[in-house]
């Protein structure tokens, strides 16, 4: 999607969002509830039309997707959209039929899809009697049953316990490894870890788009080496090192060294501290959680700072 804006009755849901999903990638659209994630992926499926901007799905305008193109898409909506009166396997079979799978292949694929999400054992159970986690997995099986090239999943892990969430992500990674393109929304920022690319969205704005490692750099302005010493030292020698972009002092005796590459700079940092005769307590790369990264990026965005620029990391990341 390119420079997309979406308004609902005058209320802006998305503002100037641009990102592209490469074929075969696992892309996470991540942000808090109400950020605009579902709106974004509903534009890909054609369930919504942009107020402004251009959206293409598999090279076609989503509103006019050809039947053959639609056969290549698997969708898992956010809300539970299966028939509670049908059994687990009947629901999957129904979706397989909707996508035109003929009898023999449909039977095979229904079994495979249910085995994949570990629901084959409850294939004859009424869907209404499945637990919430099972229902989410069943919905996933319905989206997968026709072996789509593009999987669009809206909050597949919502409401699942950590173990089930891990299971779903394992499944999505497997799908990606089978060559499928997966676009998935989630409000769990930590899930960014599993994605090849992450689109961070908040308040309808795309805060950042890139690989998870790059997001960390964007949030911190680079990589961070955390130094703690015992003794009085101002740390000016660190600032002069090659590859160091910023130095943040957190008295007493703590420093954040923002560098281009922590792996390359860390030995020089250790050497410098020893050279000035101060006792080193610890030197380690600081890897903030994605929750912290997300919070930092939102903070930056709200303060009007350029994300990924050379500005200092958000102040709250520098807490002792």
């Amino acid at each position: 999607m390119e420079r997309v804006r979406k308004d609902f009755n005058g209320v802006r849901a998305l503002e100037d969002v641009t990102f592209a999903v490469p074929r075969g990638a696992l892309v996470g659209v991540i942000g808090p509830s109400g950020a605009g994630k579902t709106t974004a992926i509903s534009l890909f499926t054609g369930n919504l039309v942009p107020t402004r901007g251009v959206v293409r799905t598999l090279g076609e305008e989503p509103l006019r997707l050809r039947r053959r193109t639609r056969e290549r898409i698997g969708l898992m909506p956010q809300r539970f959209t299966l028939y509670p009166e049908l059994t687990t396997s009947e629901n999957v079979d129904f979706f397989a039929s909707l996508f035109g799978l003929l009898a023999w292949r449909r039977r095979r694929r229904t079994r495979e899809a249910l085995q994949l999400v570990e629901l084959w054992g409850v294939r004859n159970r009424m869907t209404a009697k499945l637990s919430g986690g099972m229902q989410r997995r069943l919905q996933l099986a319905c989206a997968l049953v026709h072996e789509p090239e593009l999987l669009i999943l809206d909050e597949p892990t919502a409401g699942l316990d950590p173990l089930l969430r891990q299971g779903v992500w394992r499944e999505l990674i497997q799908q990606r490894e089978r060559g499928r393109t997966v676009v998935v929304t989630t409000q769990y920022v930590v899930d960014a870890e599993h994605c090849d690319l992450v689109a961070l969205i908040a308040d309808g704005r795309l805060l950042a788009f890139g690989p998870p490692r790059d997001l960390r750099r964007m949030a911190l302005g680079g990589e961070v080496v955390q130094v703690e010493v015992d003794g009085a030292w101002h740390g000016d020698e660190l600032e002069a090192l090659a590859g160091v972009r910023h130095l943040h002092r957190i008295p007493p005796g703590r420093f954040w060294v923002v560098v281009d590459n922590a792996g390359e700079v860390t030995p020089a940092v250790v050497e410098t501290v020893r050279r000035v005769g101060v006792e080193v307590v610890s030197v380690r790369e600081y890897r903030p959680s994605f929750d912290e990264i997300f919070a930092a990026l939102v903070h930056r965005d709200r303060e009007g700072q350029e994300v990924g620029g050379a500005a200092a990391p958000a102040a709250f990341l520098l807490r002792p």
Binding site: S42, N47, V49, I73, L75, T81, E90, S97, L98
Partner: protein, 389 residues
């Protein structure tokens, strides 16, 4: 082609299972109509006969045996007895033992001989317009029968003064002619048969309409439309699947109802099975179409249920079941023709009770309704699937 059939049959199977797996819905759909029809057939006894109490004063010289005044209208009129005074007859009326009093005058013959017209007093006490109409219609022949007895009395008196071997029968002079009526219809008119067919048409229409109406709303409520918009199923395949499923369901229930009607309730079915099947199929198609259209022009389940109930009420009042259509103003009569049940009731009564359709154009009207509603439903569904925000 094979894929299209697969998609349409997926919808057929899904719709059948969704309905059959809901015990309450199944009970409402299958048991409900059968019970309604059975209760109707087994408990409807029709209008009870009007009970007449005759007042024959002792001095009148008229026969006091109630059987002498019998009009031979079993089921319509029953003469429950005679009283000698109007007061005692009024007591019977007040006690609910009679519906009408027909009182012969005290001295009718004397008054007539003096050139005066005498009055036969008729009294009844009802606020029911239907009973009022029936009593009014019966009052005249009852009075005529009393008249006949008075005239017979006068003729007998006159005849006693004539010395002739060919003395005419006074009763014959009093009533020289009688009406002989013959109904040319192939079956005897019976309320159960006549209204049973109308009730069948009403139940079938309501079934088809409800199934069609709730189906699309069910998909909408589940959020299925978002998936259907992305899935490669067309509006035509979707609607074909729904039609086939509901025709199967409604058809099966209709078959059971027809069996119940013809076997248990004794309603004759004179037309060939093919004609009746064609009629019921057209009715089902039109009803399902109407239901689908209603569901597509509404946005919630409560709205569609309200509209389905309104359609049911309109069908009861303007479909010719409760009140004959001829009793309404011409514009409403014309409007009522747009209800599938109106055409189906007329055709059904003809096919079941006469064996032929006396107004075959109604087949065309019903077919046009079925086709028109299908096209409208298809267009609306296509719009619904194309609708984007």
């Amino acid at each position: 082609m094979l894929k299209a059939a697969t998609r349409a049959f997926a919808v057929v199977g899904k719709e059948l299972l969704v309905v059959l797996r809901r015990p309450s819905a199944l009970a409402t759909l299958v048991v409900g109509p059968v019970v309604i029809l059975a209760v109707f057939g087994l408990s409807y006894t029709g209008q009870p006969p009007i009970r007449a109490m005759l007042v024959v004063p002792a001095a009148s010289g008229l026969p006091t045996d109630a059987r002498a005044y019998d009009l031979n209208q079993p089921g319509v009129l029953q003469i429950v007895g005679t009283q000698s005074t109007l007061a005692s007859a009024r007591q019977a009326l007040a006690a609910g033992d009679a519906d009408i009093i027909v009182a012969a005058p005290d001295n009718a013959v004397q008054q007539l001989l003096h050139g005066k017209q005498v009055a036969i007093q008729i009294e009844y006490d009802t606020v029911n317009p239907y009973q009022h109409a029936v009593i009014s219609r019966l009052a005249e022949p009852l009075a005529a029968r009393v008249n006949e007895k008075i005239v017979g009395q006068i003729v007998a008196m006159a005849g006693s003064q004539v010395s002739s071997s060919n003395k005419p029968d006074p009763n014959l002079i009093a009533a020289p002619t009688r009406a002989e009526t013959r109904d040319l219809a192939p079956t005897e008119p019976k309320l159960i048969a006549f209204y049973g067919v109308a009730v069948l048409a009403l139940i079938v229409q309501h079934l088809g309409l409800t199934l069609g109406a709730l189906s699309m709303n069910g998909d909408r409520r589940l959020g299925m439309l978002a998936l259907l918009r992305v899935a490669p199923i067309s509006a035509l395949e979707l609607i074909t699947g729904k039609y086939v499923a509901f025709v199967i369901l409604t058809g099966a229930i209709t078959g059971a109802l027809v069996m119940l009607m013809t076997r248990a309730m004794g309603v004759p079915m004179l037309a060939p099975v093919g004609s009746v099947t064609a009629l019921l199929l057209l009715l089902i198609l039109a009803s399902v179409g109407l239901g689908l259209v209603l569901s597509l022009v509404t946005s919630s389940e409560s709205q569609v249920i309200q509209l389905a109930l309104l359609a049911l009420l309109a069908s009861v009042f303007f479909g010719g079941l409760a009140i004959d259509l001829s009793q309404f103003a011409p514009p409403l009569q014309a409007a009522a023709q747009f209800l599938p049940v109106t055409e189906a009731t007329r055709l059904g009564q003809d096919l079941f009770l006469r064996g032929v359709a006396t107004e075959p154009w109604r087949f065309g009207a019903l077919a046009a309704m079925a086709a028109g509603l299908t096209i409208v439903a298809l267009v609306l569904l296509r719009q619904e699937l194309m609708r984007r925000r």
